[in-house]
């Protein structure tokens, strides 16, 4: 059924306009052009020739009538179109205030920068406050074994530690291999390929073992913590805990914090070993260094200091990741969308902070001569 819609002057009575055909949304753009052409003044509009009409058609009809300065009451309609017509006229009558205009783009942009800066400051304060809260609760429950959440802590150890082990080991192994190749390429020119062993040892003991693990856990665990706690927050579980006299920090934060404090050092030790293995594999298979030689040089290169430089950072990273993950979870407000936003924010913040802390620690240990 392809009909057209028309709006024309009556051939007999030039004071009268005729509306005919199909005045529905499918003809709206065509009608709009016709209606714009209508001008001048008329006495009446006869719309009884309209076969089908919908809200869009009524809107255009009213617009046409207005252009011809015909009052809505002076439009002749078929009876079946009358209820729709009157509903639309009523709806258009109470004009009310318009939509709020959005502010100009540059102001939005400038305001955005301001919000980010102010947000970063208050975020850091919140994080420090949260750290204090967690420490005070930890000390509070330290001598009350009845409040220890052993099952939850072990559960999170498995989730964040054991289950992350394959991925961490694989990544560290591959990075170890890459570092060995890279080192060999540079050192070959000096005929010092053997120093690849020292390169691997230093880099993994001091930096890569713990840093790789921390970045991996920041992505894997901080996001999981935020999502878990955020979902509980949005379903009012946290509020329910409080009304029952339970402390969400003791129940939710401490097990996660403790689990990560234990597991991150262990994981980084294993990652270091995996990195050595990667370096060893490349040295033996591609650079022609004997395994005995590799182990001898490694033993000579390793010192307690190097090991401590790496290991001392692990609890710092663990606390950072766990606290940011939990704090962002508590910040969730209401909707599922908010859970998504906070999870992203948790990952971004924890990775950023981990790298900043690592850089500061590198400077510090260099200055004290370790």
């Amino acid at each position: 059924m392809v009909e057209s819609a028309e709006f024309v002057v009556d051939a007999v009575d030039s004071d009268r306009w005729l509306a005919r055909g199909d005045w529905r949304l499918s003809h709206a753009s065509e009608l709009e052009r016709t209606v714009i052409d209508a001008s001048g003044s008329a006495r009446s509009v006869d719309a009884t020739g309209i076969d089908h009409i919908d809200a869009a058609g009524v809107l255009l009809l009213l617009r046409a009538a207005q252009a011809l300065s015909v009052a809505p009451e002076a439009i002749a309609l078929r009876d079946e179109h009358r209820p729709l017509f009157s509903v639309i006229v009523d709806a258009l009558a109470d004009e009310g205030e318009g939509e709020d205009e959005p502010p100009p783009l540059w102001r939005e942009w400038l305001g955005g920068i301001g919000r980010v800066v102010a947000g970063a400051g208050s975020n850091l304060r919140l994080l420090v406050g949260f750290l204090g809260l967690a420490i005070s609760r930890l000390l509070g429950t330290l001598f009350r074994p009845a409040q220890w959440r052993v099952t939850a802590t072990v559960f999170h150890m498995q989730q964040t530690g054991l289950n992350a082990l394959p991925l961490t080991a694989l990544l560290a192994f591959l990075v170890g291999a890459v570092v060995a190749y890279l080192g060999a390429t540079v050192l070959r020119d000096f005929g010092a390929e053997l120093f690849v062993v020292e390169l691997i040892t230093y880099s993994f003991l001091r930096e890569f073992g713990v840093l790789l693990t921390a970045i991996l856990l920041a992505g894997r665990t901080a996001s999981a913590f935020t999502a878990q706690i955020g979902t509980m927050k949005s379903r009012e579980e946290i509020d329910a805990m409080r009304t029952l006299g339970l402390d969400p920090v003791v129940l939710l934060v401490l097990p996660r914090l403790l689990a990560l404090l234990v597991m991150l050092p262990i994981l980084s030790l294993l990652a270091t070993i995996a990195g050595f293995a990667g370096g060893l594999a490349v040295s033996v298979l591609s650079l022609g260094i004997e395994p005995e030689m590799f182990f001898t040089r490694t033993r000579e290169a390793i010192s307690l200091q190097h090991y401590l430089v790496g290991l001392l950072k692990a609890p710092l990273f663990a606390a950072t990741i766990a606290l940011i993950g939990c704090l962002e979870g508590f910040k969730v407000a209401g909707t599922a969308q908010s859970v998504g936003e906070r999870t992203t924010s948790a990952v971004v913040q924890s990775i950023t902070l981990v790298i900043i802390i690592d850089a500061l620690a590198a400077v510090f240990f260099m200055e004290i001569g370790w």
Partner: protein, 265 residues
């Protein structure tokens, strides 16, 4: 099945519908007619498959067996024919299902923009504003994002989007759930007015007895995987089935009926 469906024009015809999730059968040979121009209330216990039925009719979920015709076309059709169906139906999901990244007005414009690309943006904007006002919202609500609206306003905005294309057929999933009684009554009244004025056929899933008594022309009760009974309220009330009896003769039903009686007097 009430006799004489043939004398009415049928907007939705469901025959022998079977829906299964794994081993669980939700619908087992379900037949249903929605007549043109009526408001059909669909009721049933939790998990009786009301929403699944709606999703099947909308073509969002292919059924295991059976045929579904909407406005004379099969919903299992592809491409063009399905697109035409989408143009002629509007859907209001439970919480409005507004796109959260768009303002209310932009939400209402989406169907028009998708199906009628030739309509210029000033007219589109004006149409959207008209629909927003038709559903009883202020024009200023058009510039707001869904997260800034209350539950009742979100439903109205969702209805405005469902009505954007002036559909012949409107699907509503629990439109009054989560609204306060005053808001729910106002929404019922709005639905009735719009259905009469725009000549809508409405498929309405509800738990709300007030809605049933206030605006529905016919009621279909779903249970045991099929339509237990469908027809005008008096017929359905009198039907002999434990669930139907409990539903329509509980204290809440009696109150709703009394309220309806008062309104008519």
């Amino acid at each position: 099945m009430s006799a004489g469906t043939s004398e009415h024009e049928v907007a939705v015809r469901v025959r022998g519908l079977v829906n299964r999730f794994g081993t669980q059968t939700v619908h087992n040979g379900l037949d249903l007619d929605v007549r043109r121009g009526e408001i059909l209330g669909v009721v049933g216990g939790s998990g009786s498959g009301k929403s699944v039925l709606m999703r099947a009719i909308l073509g969002l979920r292919p059924p295991q067996a059976g045929s579904i015709e909407v406005l004379g076309r099969s919903v299992s059709g592809q491409g063009e024919s399905l697109q035409t169906l989408r143009r002629r139906t509007g859907v209001l999901f439970q919480d409005g299902a507004l796109f959260s990244s768009l303002t209310v007005r932009e939400n209402v414009e989406v169907p028009i923009r998708t199906h009628y690309r030739d309509i210029g943006s000033p007219l589109r904007c004006e149409l959207a504003r008209l629909k927003i006002r038709l559903t009883g919202l202020k024009v200023s609500a058009g510039g707001k994002y869904p997260s800034e609206l209350s539950g009742g306003m979100r439903k109205r905005a969702g209805l405005a989007r469902a009505l954007a294309l002036d559909p012949e057929l409107l699907f509503l999933d629990e439109p009054t759930a989560g609204l306060d009684p005053i808001g729910a009554a106002a929404f019922d009244e709005l639905l009735r007015t719009l259905a009469d004025a725009l000549g809508l056929t409405v498929f309405l899933i509800t738990h709300d007895l007030d809605t049933l008594y206030a605006i529905c022309d016919r009621v279909a009760v779903i249970g045991d995987g099929r339509v237990l009974v469908s027809g005008p309220l008096e017929e359905v009330e009198a039907f002999d089935h434990p669930w139907v009896r409990d539903y329509f003769n509980g204290p809440r039903a009696r109150q709703a009926k009394a309220a309806q009686g008062r309104r008519e007097r």
